[in-house]
């Protein structure tokens, strides 16, 4: 059964949301998802581009009050 892991990286300066996402995806199985919370606008822009480049699936990207919620599915 697939699982979804939450990473609350709001305000995280180092290593930052994208690095946390990459590290978590390595630990998951294909079909699992990561829900990433980030206040960094750069991450909101970079994650979809990166998913496209390496072949992971951007399930959703939502803007909440002061942060983004990015859901990424491990596809390979």
């Amino acid at each position: 059964m697939s699982e979804r892991k939450l990473i609350d990286a709001r305000g995280a300066a180092c290593p930052g949301p994208m690095m946390e996402l990459i590290a978590m995806l390595k630990l998951l199985e294909v079909g699992d998802e990561v829900e990433l919370l980030s206040t960094d606008p750069g991450t909101a822009a970079d994650v979809p581009t990166w998913c496209d480049k390496v072949g992971h699936k951007l399930v959703s990207k939502t803007k909440a009050d002061d942060h983004w919620i990015l859901v990424v599915g491990k596809a390979k």
Partner: protein, 379 residues
């Protein structure tokens, strides 16, 4: 009697145990408290010194001391690797079959290198995150006569500024050796800039340009071909190398992954302020072992350890927690040319590194000697 079990004798575990011995001095002397440290090794390694070992600036014996000389003499110390940690019962089982049970449990088992999770990386790359790795790199650099060097950074890894430091210091080393003109350094990084911290990346980009260092960002290592001497990323970029230096991916310890619930990758789910294991109030996680999305660095372990010391001693003496961890991290940055900078930040204050100076570099060298006072809980 209140029993405190600390699993791990690295920087985090040592500072917690020694700090508690100091804060609970009276209780320890009166037999009201017992502090036990369980470690997989009888040695204590000053890990940030490995960067200097790789360039022959320090010797191995300057970085290692007997763990029992670090710990307060009243602390019970066992060299006996933990093979199971029962966080519900606060019970630790060791390789020799002993079982340790406490009122409070501190898990400070640190992280481990897992280059074998990337095909070819362990065989094809040098690393300086272990004594043997740093010495092997030092010996290779001694005879290196120039060529293509790739400095390859993987996620997750501890000591977030080490990749920048080794790059700047390697440039200095090759220049002094007279082979930089025959060399080319390419630095790879997993995210879309040369460092996770934007201000550090903003400083490093012009600095790399000035030094002629190339960079390849959004580079997540897929494989190393040892025969062809190439390294390829998940993003589809392949680089040739004559010398490959990697900052390998890390994981938490196997015993944590195997026995602590929901500790994916060996990182314990941790309350970012209280430093409890999620779902408990008497199991604390310290240092690299947490899953908190902040730097895995010695200073993180130090500041977390100080918080845990205050809280466990306060719980024992007054029945209440003393304070929250504010997310503080402080890192020196060796920037080459005998200069250094530093950066600090916490959960609410973003990082803002200063310009490199010779004074900070010298202070860092001094801290390398003063570290042992930190481990003893004195600094």
């Amino acid at each position: 009697m209140k029993k405190i079990i600390v699993v791990g004798g690295g920087m985090a575990g040592s500072i917690v145990a020694n700090g508690l011995a100091r804060k609970l001095n009276k209780e320890l002397n009166n037999g009201l408290v017992n502090i036990t440290v369980i470690s997989a090794t009888d040695k204590h390694l000053y890990q940030p010194g490995l960067l200097y070992l790789a360039f022959g600036r320090v010797r191995e014996n300057e970085l290692i001391r007997d763990q029992k000389t670090i710990l307060d003499k009243r602390i019970e110390f066992h060299v006996d690797p933990a093979i199971n940690i029962d966080t519900q019962a606060k019970k630790v089982t060791t390789k020799s079959g002993k079982v340790f049970e406490g009122n409070y449990l501190v898990i400070a088992t640190g992280s481990r290198l897992v280059p074998e999770t990337v095909p070819g990386l362990a065989e094809g790359a040098h690393q300086f995150y272990s004594v043997d790795g740093a010495k092997k790199l030092r010996d290779t650099l001694k005879t290196f006569e120039g060529g293509k060097i790739v400095i390859n950074v993987n996620a997750p890894h501890k000591c977030p500024v080490a990749p920048i430091e080794i790059t700047c210091m390697l440039h200095d080393f090759l220049t002094e050796k007279g082979v930089m003109e025959k060399s080319e350094i390419t630095y790879t990084y997993p995210v879309g800039r040369v460092h996770a911290m934007e201000p550090v990346a903003n400083w490093a980009v012009p600095e790399f340009e000035k030094l002629g260092i190339k960079s390849e960002t959004l580079f997540n290592t897929k494989e190393v071909n040892v025969d062809k001497k190439t390294i390829t990323s998940e993003e589809g970029v392949t680089l040739n190398y004559d010398l490959l230096i990697t900052i390998p991916p890390h994981k938490g310890q196997q015993v944590v992954e195997d026995s602590v619930p929901d500790a994916k990758g060996g990182w314990c789910p941790t309350d970012k302020k209280k430093l409890y294991l999620e779902g408990t109030t008497d199991v604390f996680i310290c240092g690299d072992t947490t899953n908190i999305p902040i730097s895995k660095a010695g200073s993180t372990a130090h500041f977390e350890a100080d918080t845990i010391v205050d809280n466990i001693s306060s719980l024992i003496q007054e029945g209440t927690m003393a304070r929250d961890y504010d997310g503080k991290v402080f890192c020196f940055i060796e920037t080459g040319k005998e200069e250094g900078s530093y950066v600090w930040f916490n959960y609410t204050t973003p990082p803002a590194p200063g310009l490199p100076t010779k004074a900070v570099h010298r202070f860092k060298l001094a801290y390398n000697k003063m570290y042992w006072l930190s481990a003893k809980g004195l600094l």
